[in-house]
Symmetry: C2
Subunit: 200 residues, 2 copies
DNA sequence: CCCTGCCGATTGACTGGTCAATCAACGAAG
DNA sequence: CTTCGTTGATTGACCAGTCAATCGGCAGGG
């Protein structure tokens, strides 16, 4: 048969892992579950990845680098600090809308698992916090934001609020309808930016 | 000898578990680690608890019921919505200051582990979100807060921001000095409440 | 006062099951 | 014939939970 699509088995395995990790959680999934879901043999997972951990690492790095790039981009492109933070929030919410399973895995198994995988990637995660903090600091220098809030505090609060809302949807704490995403994002950004404005 | 202190072994085991869970994380601690840390025999853990899980459950329920009570209390006692939210934040920050290891375990292993233990306690956790949401809703009715933010969104954002700050301290993302706690709490409450006020 | 029997607390060796990781073998393509 | 993607049975480590044995305090009978 003429060269069937290379069916990139590596990608196949990564995508299967997303589904299984999202469904059962990382600890509860056996490597055989990933192989079954991908429709490949057990051993092939170890041909492409050195361990079960590395599969998750790969998924995280792939996505987190996109987030870091998006924050940089927002910082360069958008005009006001408020718009910059809005763009960051939009990127994260859209990431969830576009691939909720992957975002669930990233948040639940890495970002919020600071004792296990989060530890490995602490530096990358922190880089995001710092980039957001930089946006806040610039906003303070331009006078758009009040100066008595440490940028890192504001950054952590901003990101923490976003992640908590996503967690709410992921675990059904908050009912989700399509329009809620945009509305929630606007409210969050508005509320936090209003709170960051110089005292009226 | 007159009645040596009963040396309540059950408590001894719970306190040892806090230390070990905080140090190694729940998954990475073996039941024998808990027993060693407590200075008791392996089997005794199973005399007082039906499983390793139940040890963590017990720790969570103990502390979370205090949080729920503190939120109710804040709602009844404090005058303004702003003061109510301030009291809630104070309780959580003080809990961390008083027993950082326990709070680390609660947050890392339960509250943010929505896939494993969080699932078991989702209802209790949600109860806290709802109580905070009620404070926000009351504030909206009295006109102290603007009405266009869903109370549950505000609640989740508020709690998420607090937890993210605590996580920052727990994992050294944010350097912690004694005064920082109170300052961070004030800034967080001020910023979020300012953001929730009717648009200036 | 001592002895005896009871019962809950305490001990730690052991078992059963689970999985991550290995590896020897296979087959298709060049 | 060699190379390399692919297969899946096997191995070896790990650990939660079990359980039979021991300890120690106390009651109550002699």
């Amino acid at each position: 048969m003429a060269q069937a699509p290379p069916a990139d088995k590596r990608r196949l395995i990564l995508d299967a892992a997303i589904r299984v990790f999202a469904r059962q959680g990382f600890h509860a999934t056996r490597v055989s579950d990933i192989a079954d879901e991908a429709g490949v043999a057990y051993g092939l997972v170890y041909h492409y990845f050195s361990s079960k951990d590395e599969v998750l690492n790969e998924l995280f790095i792939e996505r987190w680098s996109l987030l870091l790039a998006a924050i940089e981009e927002a910082d360069k492109t958008a005009a006001s600090p408020r718009q910059k933070l809005g763009a960051v929030a939009t990127f994260i919410f859209d990431s969830y809308r576009h691939d909720p399973e992957l975002m669930k895995v990233i948040i639940v198994e890495v970002t919020r698992a600071a004792n296990s995988f989060g530890k490995t990637h602490l530096e990358q995660i922190q880089r995001a916090y710092e980039s957001i903090a930089k946006i806040v600091a610039d906003g303070q220098e331009s006078g758009a934001f009040r100066g008595d809030v440490a940028p890192m505090f504001a950054s952590m609060s901003f990101y923490g609020a976003i992640e908590q809302l996503l967690s709410g949807w992921i675990f059904g704490t908050i009912p989700a309808s399509a329009s809620d995403f945009d509305q929630a994002r606007d409210l969050l950004v508005t509320t936090i930016c209003d709170g960051l404005e110089p005292r009226g």
